[in-house]
């Protein structure tokens, strides 16, 4: 007697959001099962991987990334190299240099960088701000304006600045909007509702419901992702049916497991391996709970995660 399989069919489907233009587009979301549950329903669209670079070039990058991008003189060079990485579905440009507590680059300079990268590569593009709420609320609208017609995803609109970024990206310049909230299903929901009330087409919204590195309060991420997916599919909750994008590299490369030097902790072995495995584990954990896309840094991690996705669908 075979196992009585309790297959789970949902009436709701996570919205498909297309990123990029022309031949070079990639689709985020679109599934109607829990992640990789192809036995419930065959997957029409797989999880996606972004590769990140920053406007700071290689200055702040660990040695292994300097090696990978050896020979690249500009951010544009790095972008061109990044899009060749096997398994990467989209490029992520982080404009970290805008941080007023860091380099505090001008908005004009950052917009110029974004424009030069977008012009140089024919690849779906995500542009992340510097994470300073005030600066991003000025910066991202300008990026949205400069990249009109490229259908890029701008990250992120938060509760404090969703109006500026949402109005610019979602209304004025017809780009995609990333909505970021801090590991809590209700905060995610609330922000999505507010963005909808602003008049933004919810079909153009992707959400980042928060992230952490494995071992660093990641339990909250798991439960938030699980619950968002569960409510979106199980309750057909319209305000949670946006695809989820999770910036993983942001969290993993700074934790001590991934950054402590081999001199400081000789027993731990290769720092590159540690950084890669931390990135892989965190990414896979996010994908297995509900992220529709993850953003990674190292080509080896990207290859491993991509081959796992391939093996599962």
């Amino acid at each position: 007697m075979p196992l009585n399989k309790k297959l789970q069919k949902f009436s709701a489907t996570v919205r498909s959001v297309e990123l990029g233009t022309g031949d070079k587009t990639t689709t985020l979301g679109g599934s109607n099962t829990y992640p990789f549950y192809t036995f419930d329903n065959p997957t029409t669209n797989t999880a996606k991987i972004g590769i990140e670079i920053s406007d700071l070039g290689l200055a702040e990058e660990p040695d292994c990334m300097k090696e990978f991008y050896a020979g690249c003189e500009t951010v544009v060079d790095m972008a061109k190299k990044a899009v060749t990485v096997e398994g990467a579905d989209f490029l992520v440009l982080k404009l970290i240099g805008g941080d007023p507590n860091g380099e505090n680059k001008s908005i004009e300079e950052l917009v110029e960088t974004a424009k030069s990268v977008a012009d140089a590569v024919d690849f779906p593009l995500v542009v992340e701000g510097c994470k300073n709420v005030e600066k991003d609320s000025q910066l991202l609208p300008k990026v949205a304006e400069a990249l009109q017609g490229k259908n890029v995803l701008l990250m992120s609109a938060k509760e404090e600045n969703y109006k500026n970024i949402g109005a610019a990206a979602g209304l004025a310049y017809d780009q995609l909007l990333g909505a970021e909230s801090a590991v809590d299903i209700n905060l995610a929901k609330q922000l999505n509702v507010l963005i909808k009330q602003l008049g933004v087409d919810v079909g153009k919204v992707v959400m980042n419901v928060g992230s952490a590195a494995a071992g660093y309060g990641f339990d909250y991420c798991i439960s938030t992702l699980d619950r968002v997916k569960g409510a979106a599919l199980g309750q057909s909750d319209d305000s949670l049916l946006m695809p989820i994008i999770t910036p993983v590299a942001d969290e993993t490369w700074s934790v001590k497991e991934a950054s402590a030097s081999e001199e400081d902790v000789p027993e731990w072995g290769s720092v590159v391996e540690r950084a890669i495995d931390m990135e892989i584990t965190t990414a896979v954990a996010c994908l297995s709970c509900g992220s529709d896309a993850v953003i990674l840094k190292h080509p080896t991690s990207i290859a491993a995660v991509a081959s796992m996705i391939k093996a599962l669908v």
């Binding site: 507590n101 439960s223 619950r227 391996e273 892989i280 991690s301 599962l312």
Partner: protein, 463 residues
């Protein structure tokens, strides 16, 4: 459907005899309802009541114990074994996951002795503590390869057993299995080798040696049927090997079995812990093994076998496991104490915050980023976030002052500047009164602002 505490209470003798160890029948009934104690603890239950309760309260997924001392996590409690399975929910936010995933490295009869030694030595190096838990490779998978003799396999098993870990005997060859069991059965290994073709013989070996039997098959139906057949032979000490047909199949097996046993109408034949052998699913590809080990940690693997666990794999996997198996309703906590950051010493500035792990990680991360040497003072705030603990009266001028005294901070640290989380600026006055020797400074309200805050303090010569 499980019975409520009230329903169970009605079946108790209602005499508060305390013989069960609980002070009242009500308390006992509530504990039974939670699954914290068995109904057999009550000597006065009627047979009828017991039958009624057993049916209703039998767990849908069995808890299987493997291994014997000294493999326990708790070094003081050397008789304990590894408990696997016993899960009650599909998602951690519903209720705490019960028995955490365990990991194994692999030795095989295809390896030469030097390789086996190297693997065992490297494995032993991974042994550290993280937030109160011992992190190490708890299992060794001992693979039998085609053509290897029974003696050679038994020798390998013995060598592995000497490494003080619990064993998984991956063997389909009857003679080899018998020989290995003979050699190491006292360590209570898993005999992982039953399938549709050999389950009767394997079952006999496992029951004879009183060890857990691992069952597999080419698909989930075959696995399920084989379990049913073995159950019919009277053996319910089983574990499911999710198989190595493909990643996709193994994953489907893990989810489908877990789902079937935790269904509203539980299918208990599907309710056994599982082994995910990612070494066999991605041989020779360590990064893919990291990915798959993560996947099966998240989704329902009780034991995950890799080829050779490295520190690089262990650090994120064990951290993830620790997060995954925490109580979703209890905030993870950090031990109160002094946490020096960036090489802080007794003259470095002090900052204080609560013992809620998430707050700690955020704050300590930003402090590290600032590069400014500082002492992070963590007091007992009930494991709550800053505002919650403040509202609950657990993070107050009194509690901070008491902590400073109890931890003898004034003798351990000479610096007398204490930075308070901006959200509890309201404590400043009180704290100044309670700690007259200290310069109390109100810090930023968000952790991300700490870098600038500390750098500014440093620039002003205050830190």
């Amino acid at each position: 459907m499980a019975l409520t505490g009230i329903q169970i209470f009605k079946l108790t003798p209602k005499k508060n005899c305390k013989e069960c160890g609980s002070p009242t029948c009500m308390a006992f009934a509530m504990k039974v309802a939670q699954g914290a104690v068995g109904i057999d603890k009550c000597p006065y239950m009627s047979e009828d009541a017991i039958a009624q309760l057993s049916e209703a309260s039998a767990p849908p997924m069995k808890t299987i114990e493997i291994g014997k001392k000294p493999f326990a996590d708790n070094k003081n409690d050397t008789d304990a074994s590894f408990k696997l399975g016993g899960e009650t929910v599909l998602f951690r936010h519903e209720k705490t996951f019960v028995n955490k995933t365990r990991y194994a490295s692999t030795v095989s009869t295809a390896m030469d002795a030097a390789k086996v030694d190297q693997i065992l030595t490297d494995m032993a190096k991974i042994d550290y503590e993280r937030i109160g838990d011992r992190m190490y490779v708890e299992f060794i998978a001992v693979d039998h390869t085609d053509g290897a003799s029974a003696d050679a396999y038994a020798e390998l098993a013995k060598k592995a057993a000497a490494a003080n870990r619990a064993l998984i005997l991956n063997v389909k060859d009857e003679a080899a299995a018998a020989a290995a069991l003979e050699a190491v059965k006292d360590t209570k290994p898993v005999l992982n080798g039953a399938d549709a073709s050999n389950y009767e013989a394997m079952n006999k070996l496992a029951t004879g040696a009183d060890v857990v039997l691992g069952v597999t098959g080419s698909n989930v139906d075959e696995i399920y049927d084989t379990i049913a057949a073995i159950e019919k032979l009277g053996n319910k000490k089983l574990i499911v090997d999710l198989g190595s047909v493909s990643v996709k199949d193994a994953f489907a097996n893990a989810v489908l079995l877990r789902r079937a046993c935790l269904d509203k109408n539980p299918d208990r034949t599907a309710g056994y812990p599982t082994i995910a052998n990612v070494a066999k699913l991605a041989p020779g590809d360590a990064h893919m093994q990291t990915a798959l080990a993560t996947l099966f940690t998240m989704k329902y693997g009780s034991i995950v076998i890799v080829e050779e666990m490295t520190y690089a794999q262990a650090l994120p996997l064990y951290g993830l496991r620790q997060n995954l198996f925490t109580d979703p309703q209890k905030a993870p906590r950090i031990e109160p104490g002094i946490y020096p950051i960036n090489g802080a010493e007794e003259n470095s500035i002090c900052l204080t915050t609560v013992d809620f792990a998430l707050t700690y990680f955020l704050v300590s991360g930003e402090l590290e980023r600032s590069g400014v040497p500082c002492n992070l003072l963590i007091s007992d705030a009930g494991g709550l976030s800053v505002l919650t603990s403040w509202a609950a009266g657990k993070f107050s001028a009194g509690s901070i002052a008491k902590y400073i005294q109890e931890f003898d901070i004034e003798n351990k640290i000479k610096n007398r500047t204490l930075v308070l989380p901006g959200k509890v600026a309201v404590l400043k006055g009180d704290l100044e009164a309670k700690l007259p020797d200290w310069n109390i400074v109100v810090g930023p309200t968000e952790a991300v602002q700490l870098v600038k805050f500390l750098k500014d303090m440093q620039a002003n010569g205050q830190a």
